[in-house]
C-alpha cells in the first residue's frame, strides 16, 4: 500500500513521468514549429537550476507566499494518486469529488500565492486566473460527472469501454477544459507573458518557482490520466497507458501550436458554450 502510494503508481511515478512528458511536449512543439528544440531532459536541468537559485521574498509579500506553491504541488499529487490507472490505490465513496476539489485547489493555491506576492502584474494574473476558474470549472465538472452518473458509481474507476464514442460532447469539453487548467494556448490567459510578464508567478524565484513549474507539469500528466481513465477506455497495462497518454499529449501539443491567445471575455463565452454542450450529454445520462 505504502509502496503504491509513494512509488508506483504514486508520487514518484507521477513526478518522473510528468517531467518526461513535459520534455516530450516541448520537443514535439518545437518540431511542429520547425525547430530542433531542447533535449527531452531539459526540464530536469531547468528544475535543478531553479533549486540552486536564490529565494527572493519581496518585502511587501503577504502570508502564504511560501506556503501556497507547496500546497499547490501537494494537492495535485493527491489528485494524481486518487485517479486509478490499472490498479486502484485508494478508493472511497465520492472520491471523484475529491479529485475535482484537489485539482481546483491546486490552481487556486497558485492564484492565492500570486495575490500574496503583492505585485500589480501578479494580482491581475491571479484575478484573470480566478475568472478563468469560473469559466472552465463548469464544463470540467459536468464532463467528470457524466460517466459517474451514467453507471451509478460511488467512486471513480477505470472504464474498459471507450466512453468517448458514447459521450463525445462531454469528452470534448473535458479536453477543452484541460487546456485551460494547464494554461495551454489558446487559454494561457492568466500567465500572459506579453502583457503580464509572467502573471501570478512574476515575483517567484528559486525553489518556489520550481514548485510552481512542477505543479503545472504534474497537473498536465494527471489530467491526461484522468482523460484516459474516464473516456479513452482506461489503461490495462503500462504499454496501453503509454500509447494512449502520448496520443492525448499529441493532441494537447497541436492545440499549443495552432492557436493564438484569446481575450478573457472571449474565453469566458467559449467555455459557457462548452458547458451547454456538455450539458446535452448530462441530460442524456439523467
Amino acid at each position: 500500500m505504502l509502496f503504491e502510494i509513494l512509488v508506483y503508481p504514486g508520487i514518484l511515478f507521477l513526478l518522473i513521468a510528468s517531467i518526461i512528458y513535459s520534455g516530450i511536449m516541448r520537443k514535439l512543439a518545437a518540431r511542429m514549429q520547425n525547430r530542433i528544440g531542447p533535449p527531452i531532459y531539459q526540464v530536469v536541468y531547468d528544475l535543478i537550476k531553479l533549486t540552486g537559485k536564490e529565494n527572493i521574498r519581496p518585502k511587501q509579500a503577504k502570508t502564504g507566499f511560501t506556503l501556497f506553491p507547496a500546497i499547490a504541488l501537494a494537492s495535485v499529487l493527491i489528485a494524481g494518486i486518487l485517479i486509478p490507472i490499472h490498479t486502484k490505490t485508494i478508493s472511497f465513496t465520492g472520491d471523484y469529488i475529491a479529485i475535482i476539489y484537489f485539482l481546483l485547489f491546486s490552481s487556486t493555491a497558485l492564484f492565492i500565492a500570486g495575490y500574496a506576492s503583492s505585485n500589480n502584474l501578479a494580482i491581475v494574473g491571479s484575478i484573470r486566473g480566478i475568472v478563468m476558474v469560473f469559466a472552465y470549472e463548469l464544463p470540467f465538472i459536468i464532463s467528470i460527472l457524466v460517466p459517474i452518473l451514467a453507471f451509478n458509481l460511488y467512486s471513480i474507476q477505470s472504464f474498459d469501454t471507450w466512453l468517448i464514442t458514447r459521450y463525445p460532447l462531454a469528452a470534448l469539453s473535458l479536453f477543452i477544459s484541460i487546456l485551460a487548467k494547464v494554461e495551454i494556448p489558446p487559454f494561457h490567459i492568466p500567465n500572459a507573458h506579453q502583457e503580464l510578464v509572467g502573471g501570478y508567478s512574476v515575483e517567484f524565484t528559486g525553489k518556489r518557482l520550481a514548485l510552481i513549474e512542477l505543479t503545472t507539469i504534474v497537473k498536465t500528466f494527471v489530467l491526461i490520466l484522468l482523460m484516459i481513465t474516464l473516456y479513452l477506455g482506461g489503461a490495462q497495462n503500462i504499454f496501453i497507458l503509454l500509447i494512449k497518454s502520448l496520443a492525448v499529449l499529441f493532441a494537447l501539443t497541436v492545440s499549443r501550436v495552432l492557436f493564438a491567445r484569446l481575450r478573457i471575455e472571449q474565453a469566458l463565452r467559449f467555455y459557457w458554450i462548452f458547458a451547454l454542450i456538455a450539458a446535452i450529454d448530462l441530460i442524456r445520462v439523467l
Binding site: 514549429q33 500589480n120 491581475v124 502583457e195 492557436f259 484569446l262 481575450r263
Partner: protein, 385 residues
Amino acid sequence: MNEDTCYTLPLGPQHPALVEPEYLKVHLDGETIVDVEINLGFMHRGIEKALQQRTYQQDRFLIEKICGICSSIHTLTYCNTIEKLLDVEIPERAKYIRMIIAEFERIHSHMLWVGIAAYEIGFDTVFQMSWRDRELVMELLEDLSGNRVSYSMNTIGGVRRDISRTMTEKIRTTMDKIDSRLHHYIDVFVNDSTITKRTKGTGILKQKDAIRYSAVGPLARASGISCDIRKKAPYLLYDKVDFKEITHNTSDVESRAIVRLKELLESTKIIRQCLHLMPKGELSIKVPDIVPVGEAISRGEAPRGEIFYYARSDGTDKPYRIKIRTPTLANIHSLQPMLKGQQLADLPIIVASIDPCFSCTDRVTLLDTRTGISKTVDETYLKKL
C-alpha cells in the same frame, strides 16, 4: 472613470512586450484601459551630436547604427542628402542597387513585424515560421553585403558592392519563394479565426485622428491615408518602376497587418523590375571630402514610415548639423487614441501594430512637474552639469 477601482500598471522600462526600454504608464479600470502616459527618453544616445564630430564618410557608419532593422534606408537618405549638398548625380546602376537593398530591408522588416505581432497575441508558431522565412532575405543580404544587419552598402556617391549575375538568379528564385509564403501569411491573417478574433476591431485609429496625430507609414495607410513617399515624392528611380500604393480603410490592427503584407508583394515586384532594368556601368563616383556650404533635406520611405534628414554644412569635412526625424516619433503619439477604452490583453498587439523602434525615437526633454514647462537640453545646460 471610477477613481476607486482604477489602478496603474507599469509597462516597461523593462517588459517583454516592448523589446526596447520605454515606459508606458497604463491606468486601468478592471481590464479596460482608461488612460496611457507615454514616457520616452530611456534610450537617448546623443547620435546627432556625435555625427557632428565625425567626417561625412565616417558618419555613414554611425547612421547605420541608429536602427538595426532599417539600417539601409537611414544611410540611403543620408547619402541622398549629402549628394544634394555636393550637387552630384550617382550612376544609374547604383540607384537600382540602392532600391533593391531598400526593398529587401522592407521585406525583412515587415516579416519580422509579422512574427512580433503573432507573438504578442500568443501565437508562437506564426512567429517561428515567419522568422524562418525572413531568413531567406537575410541570407541574400548577407551574400550581397557581407553582413546580416549593417549592410554598409550605400556610400556617398554610389554603392560599395555589385550584384553579380549568379546573385541575380538567386534573388529571382528567392523572390518567388517569398511571394508564395506571403500569400500564405495574408491568408492566415485574414482567415485564421483566433487571429481575427484578436485583430479585428482592436486599436482603431480613425482617419481623422491619424491626420491629427500626424501618423506616417503603414499606420497611416491602414487608416486610408495615402502617404507613401515613394509615390508622393519619388527619390532614386521609384518613378520608373511600376508598383501600387497599398491602403486599407478598416483602421484596425488587422488592416495594418494586411497593408504591411500586401506592401511586400509590391516590394518583390519592385525588386524584379529593378533587376530587369538595371544597366551595366559604374558603381560609384568619386566625391570630395569637403562639402560646400549649404543645407539640404531629403525624405525616404522607411519600412515604418517617412524618414527625414536635414543636413547643414559649413564648408569643412564635418557636418555642422544633422537632424533626423524617424517614423516612430511621428507614430507613437497615435498610441493614446488607439489604446483608450481597449482591453489590457490587446495592449501589446496595439503597441506592436505601429511597429515601434524606440531607440530611433528618443529625445531628451526635461519636464518640470511642478510648473509643467518642458524644455530641450542644450549644450550650455550640459556644460553646467
